[in-house]
């Protein structure tokens, strides 16, 4: 261990190497290399020329978090978003920012005995919430995934959302739609590094699409596969766009941000039902205010056989599944 180590010392040779003077030749070589490097860098960055004007502005960079915006700032932002949508999609929407109602805690229940797996809810969700879609049949970005399971099975690994028989319901199967459960102990809001997603007073978990940095940690954290990411700028034809929009829910998202079901807060905070419930042909869905003792949702929770998906993960969701008897 104590054998002499080869000396790492300065020698005349190394000194000459380090301190060799700059000659005309080395200067020219260096300059040529630097210029080649710069040219290469400029060439490499060429794709940036395609960046749409107005996509990256000082205004958007300096915009504060939604919860810190003053009312006039919010107004200004809503107007500029409306103008942006007109410019990018050819349709001018109305974007509002409805506040949570007093004395309201939303909850949702789904009657597994009645769901027939028609997926009308998944399609209605897309029409209502302006998610990106390649065609009318493309339901990948819908906030609702309807799973087909064998009767008697609860193991989700045996489920499929891609069932496509002639008719539903198929014999021996049952159907379970899954969307954001707006969990009381949500893993998604816990892991977001910038608090771009949070739970509002009425229980809905929202995303500020102008604050989200697109790290997708919330997607990794969600136990219900409820969140979607805009891997590209949303593709929407003008006819497909729903013009009644709100800042925190169904306005058209920019690319690179996460989105999810908001219990259609632009509807439910104004006394309407979520789009999925309205369209359900069998009445399998129940939505309402937990703080209202006479609400249908409270009746269900008190009187029906109710259970929670993945209860062992400890999320305490606001979404319940039940059977009639």
């Amino acid at each position: 261990m104590s054998a002499p180590i080869q000396a790492n010392d300065a020698t005349p040779k190394t000194l000459t190497e380090v301190y060799r003077p700059v000659t005309r030749r080395t200067f020219l070589k260096g300059t040529a290399a630097a210029m080649a490097g710069m040219a290469g860098l400029v060439a490499a960055l060429k794709p940036l020329l395609a960046l749409a004007r107005g996509e990256l502005t000082l205004d958007t960079l300096l915009q504060k978090h939604y919860r810190e915006l003053t009312p006039p700032e919010l107004e200004r932002i809503l107007k500029s978003l409306e103008a942006k949508c007109k410019k990018e999609y050819g349709v001018r929407p109305t974007i509002r920012a409805p506040q949570p109602l007093e004395g309201v805690q939303f909850a949702y229940a789904l009657n597994l005995g009645r769901c027939v797996g028609c997926r009308k809810c998944a399609h209605a969700c897309l029409k209502e919430n302006n998610q990106s879609r390649d065609s009318a049949d493309d339901i990948e970005m819908s906030y609702i995934r309807v799973l087909e399971l064998e009767k008697g099975e609860i193991n989700l690994e045996t489920s499929t959302p891609y069932y496509n028989p002639e008719q539903v319901p198929q014999p021996g199967k049952y159907y379970m739609p899954v969307q954001c459960h707006q969990c009381r102990e949500s893993p998604c809001t816990k892991v977001c590094p910038v608090q771009a997603t949070w739970q509002e007073l009425d229980g809905v978990i929202t995303v500020d699409y102008n604050w989200c940095i697109g790290c997708r940690y919330c997607m990794a954290a969600c136990p219900y596969d409820a969140r979607r990411f805009n891997y590209h700028k949303p593709k929407l034809t003008p006819e497909a766009i729903n013009r009644n929009q709100s800042y925190l829910s169904n306005r058209i998202r920019p690319k690179g941000v996460v989105e999810k079901c908001t219990f259609c807060l632009h509807r439910t905070r104004e006394g309407k039902y979520p789009a999925c419930l309205e369209v359900c042909p069998t009445g399998a869905r129940v939505f309402g205010n937990l703080l209202d003792p006479d609400s249908e949702i409270n009746y269900i929770l008190k009187n029906k056989r109710v259970y929670i998906l993945k209860e062992d993960v400890g999320t305490h969701p606001r979404f319940y599944y039940f059977f009639e008897k």
Partner: protein, 392 residues
């Protein structure tokens, strides 16, 4: 250097495309939302942490011969952390919004979000290594004794800090109760064990390159000390792997679906099966070489290092990140393969790390062997031989 620069430019070009069109240029989907970028990030945090395996023998066990190489480990940690930060940045949907994380303008979700902890520990580790290596190189350049209290406390902090960077990175995954493949205590344990194999492996190979290409001789003792560390860490790593495999496969549970997908395929999808078994083969080859006298010869040791490095890279990347997403929490199996653009960005970042490391060595080696110093006229006041006369 030219080749590396070219690769970096190719990576920059690929990233520019991604910045404009969005992450659709990658192979990622809603179902598998983290892939090659985060996989490389995770693996490289481990390599960065392994600089501690040079510091401990040098400063705690006072092995004088390690002092000649600690600097190379610290400089490697700097280059590797820069790569980690780049990998995270290219993974973001909106990298220009990173200021949303920095108070007072931004909101920093600490202590709730483990990602916020990771930001702190990774940047802290970068600063620690920049300070220690910068200070010591500067003192050497100025031909003066470094003042102990300006670097010794930081060296000891960096030992604990190195362990923390990889533990916190592991906790990113472990905390997610919805993904049972990640939600167990062996994840951080294997992270550290495999990091202390992969890091020294890279260093052993790098030291031989330094021997050959620079005027700085690295003796055999540091290399074989690293071999010993690697061997112990690899034995622990493989033992923990055995524990993992037993737990996942002894009883047929639903939790083990991801492990089944990884090792045997699930419902007709076996994209990762060849990868993981290659990794297993490389790991066992590396282990066999390390625990036998075959690795006492430098050729055998080099094969062991390369095998372990690649095997662990596969395991931490494709073997850890992707199976966490397969099947999805709702049971869907969607496979993932990085796209060409994604691969080019990764290559660009790896090339950038190698380039940064070479640049640092181009300055550090002449300083360390005394050729580059503040006053070249004066003869060398500090003798490097044996490093006994010169602390670190």
């Amino acid at each position: 250097m030219t080749l590396l620069s070219l690769l970096v430019l190719v990576g920059v070009n690929a990233y520019a495309r991604q910045f404009v069109y969005g992450l659709e240029t990658t192979g990622l989907t809603n179902q598998v939302s983290w892939g090659a970028y985060i996989a490389n990030f995770t693996f490289l945090v481990g390599v960065a942490a392994a600089a501690v395996m040079l510091v401990i023998p040098a400063y705690i066990y006072k092995k004088e011969f390690m002092h000649e190489v600690v600097m190379f480990g610290e400089l490697m940690a700097i280059a590797v952390i820069l790569m980690c930060l780049l990998f995270v940045t290219v993974d973001l949907g909106h990298p220009e919004r990173f200021h949303h994380m920095i108070p007072p303008f931004g909101i920093f979700n600490w202590p709730g979000s483990i990602l916020s902890w990771d930001v702190i520990v990774l940047n802290g580790y970068l600063l620690l290594n920049l300070h220690i290596s910068g200070y010591l190189l500067y003192c050497r350049y100025r031909q003066r004794q470094p003042t102990k209290r300006f670097y010794i406390p930081f060296v000891f902090i960096s030992i604990a800090w190195a362990v923390s960077i990889h533990t916190v990175t592991a906790f990113l995954y472990v905390g997610l109760a919805g993904r049972s493949y990640w939600h167990h205590p062996l994840v951080p344990s294997r992270f550290l064990a495999s990091a202390f194999v992969a890091g020294p492996a890279l260093m052993i190979l790098t030291f031989q390159v330094i021997r050959r290409l620079t005027r700085y001789w690295i003796g055999d003792e540091p290399i074989f000390t690293l071999r010993m560390i690697m061997t112990v860490a690899m034995i622990i790593n493989m033992f923990l792997l055995g524990c993992e495999i037993f737990t996942e496969f002894y009883a047929p549970t639903v939790h083990a679906a991801a492990a089944r997908y990884l090792y045997f395929g699930l419902h007709g999808h076996h994209g990762l099966v060849p990868w993981i078994w290659t990794a297993m083969a490389l790991d066992f080859l590396g282990l066999a070489l390390l625990i036998t006298p075959l690795s006492r010869r430098i050729a055998g040791l080099n094969v062991a290092c390369a095998a372990c490095f690649v095997g662990i890279w596969i395991e931490k990347g494709m073997g850890l990140i992707v199976p966490g997403f397969v099947p999805t929490p709702l049971g869907q199996v969607v496979e993932y393969l990085p796209s060409l653009n994604e691969t080019l960005v990764c290559l660009g970042i790896w090339a950038f790390g190698a380039l940064v490391y070479s640049w640092m060595l181009h300055v550090a080696v002449p300083i360390m062997n005394g050729s580059l110093r503040a006053d070249p006229e004066k003869p060398a006041a500090l003798h490097v031989a044996g490093s006994a006369a010169q602390p670190h």
